[in-house]
Symmetry: C2
Subunit: 338 residues, 2 copies
């Protein structure tokens, strides 16, 4: 079939129109080999006239050069995940990579297999796993060793087979706890999120701060991620008069805790101080505006992609990379009464 139809133009069409060989067209397109100015211009004109675009499949087949990076995540909607994805995409676009996404729907092995199969059905330069939850750990294990994979992690973990960029939430938990202690609170209670490990980094940070202050360490109230679970945790704390300051594992938990206190007539921050974690967008709009530990997820995404890109391009496995959260002081924490 001659290419007169409505097929997209290919290299030979351009070559024919420009009156040169296919190799010459390829050379001006790749730019790696010199071509005389005269021919180059003819070729460029033909490319423009035909609206030619290289066939990606053919390119990666012959050159082996891959330019898509897959992101595997449990979720793409919750704030931390979505912000990390944004950072990855932004950095990828700047570096010339396309990002594809695959969510791992549940703990069920078939969901993991499904996502991994789909991801590996592409020609990948590498992959990023968002490892904010235990499913991330399993996803990491399901990926072939030959593929460059970097984890975007919510907490430091011991150096493993795969490099990771992470947010040092232990430092954040410690800073927030010290801040509350510095305000004059006798101790700080803690409502914890689930973790990839027995305890989350922020929970460790809270423990360390209490211990180094030589202060009593209350029982941890274990919760999930959502406000309802924070509400239940709040109810468990509200009748205890020794509770004057609460560090929550994330902002949504903090919202739920605050609602439970409000319903029982304990005012924030007058009666009890509440500090969140993450600095989600609604935190600053809350009443009272929420004091919280800000984690820069967008930057985490950028760094993760940067590590992966360097790995792919230089062949050198990157070092783990940490970033420090920062406490954002707003109005939900104050000195205790009296």
């Amino acid at each position: 079939m001659t290419s007169g139809g409505h097929q997209p133009p290919v290299l030979s069409d351009v070559a024919a129109l420009a009156g040169v060989s296919i190799s010459t067209v390829s050379r001006v397109l790749t730019g790696r080999t010199p071509v005389s100015a005269a021919l180059r211009e003819k070729v460029q004109a033909a490319v423009a006239e035909l609206g030619y675009r290289p066939n990606a499949a053919a390119q990666t087949l012959v050159s082996g050069r891959r330019s898509t990076v897959a992101v595997l995540a449990r979720n793409t909607l919750r704030y931390g995940y979505a912000a990390t994805l944004q950072g990855i995409e932004e950095a990828a676009r700047a570096a010339g990579y396309v990002v594809s996404i695959a969510v791992v729907e549940s703990e069920a092995p078939r969901d993991l297999d499904r996502a991994v199969d789909l991801v590996l059905s592409q020609s990948l330069a590498g992959a990023i796993v968002v490892e904010f939850d235990s499913l991330g750990v399993r996803t990491l294990e399901a990926l072939p060793d030959a593929l460059p994979v970097v984890a975007a992690a919510g907490a430091r973990r011991r150096p493993g087979p795969r490099p990771h960029a992470f947010l040092d939430d232990q430092a954040g938990g410690e800073e927030a706890t010290r801040y509350l202690l510095g305000l004059g609170h006798r101790t700080v209670h803690h409502v914890a999120i689930p973790s990839t490990r027995p305890r989350s980094g922020r929970t460790w940070g809270w423990r360390r701060a209490l211990e180094s202050a030589g202060v009593e360490r209350p029982e941890v109230v274990q919760a999930s991620y959502d406000p309802d679970s924070g509400y239940a945790a709040g109810l468990a704390l509200v009748d205890d008069p020794s509770v004057t300051a609460v560090l929550c594992g994330n902002d949504e938990l903090a919202i739920g805790v605050m609602r439970a206190f409000a319903e029982r007539g304990r005012r924030v921050p007058e009666d009890v101080s509440v500090v969140g974690f993450d600095d989600q967008p609604f935190a600053r709009m809350w009443s009272p505006p929420l004091t919280t530990v800000a984690q820069d997820f967008v930057d985490l995404g950028r760094r993760t992609l940067g590590m992966l890109a360097r790995w792919v391009e230089t062949g050198e496995r990157p070092e783990d990379s940490a970033a420090q959260p920062t406490l954002v002081v707003r109005e939900s924490a104050a000195p205790p009464r009296g």
Copy 2:
């Protein structure tokens, strides 16, 4: 080079191990042509032993079958965008498509070109444009006619060259306004979001409801998307005693409006009713819980992908598809005083 190195196995490796020809392996893999049980088992064993995976580039090169869908959007983090993306990804995964994303950073032509170039550098089955803003309209125009493209739109628009799935926010605006009128309010004020057209669908719905009730139509307060802009709008309304009910173009605006009222001592819903739009996750957690028009963005994403998939698979251009928002009554709206 013989394939003894650490290269991934290819068809010929499998064929050699199984003691059959390459085509036989290909046949058992594609399943379109019958193969004797004996050989089929040998091949499957060899595939498993080698951990063989087909090379995607070679497959799409020879077969022309594409299985990636690109999503172009202004943003991936804001609620509506992220939820739509979630729906797209979910439906795509179920249908065997991979989704890749490209954000169009700004109105600058070079940002549009950059995103479009990156997207078109892949072998695409089709594309989806998230058309919640005016940049979406321009993105749609920048894509080649030959590519199947479906828009995920925030509002109905006149049928155009490309099919779209949309949320009928005009109906939502009308319902919310009628609800407030039904509560006994003399009229309803409106704080509007920007729109792809001179007026957003929800603004039209608000107008229609007021007109058909034969009620005075106040000036629209034009705002942006964020709480700060809602706060400014709230300040513009707070001193007007005729303001007893406000319909906001989205939930974040509603938050800002409520804060402005709270600061000036006007209570919600006792003194003034506020209704939002979208039903973002924080809406139900607010104090008071926000009455708002829920839009199912996840479903929008699913429908959009469904349309695109049918188009790609059957060759028939799909019809436009609408979904109705629903009013979620919570506690931020009530009958007027007295």
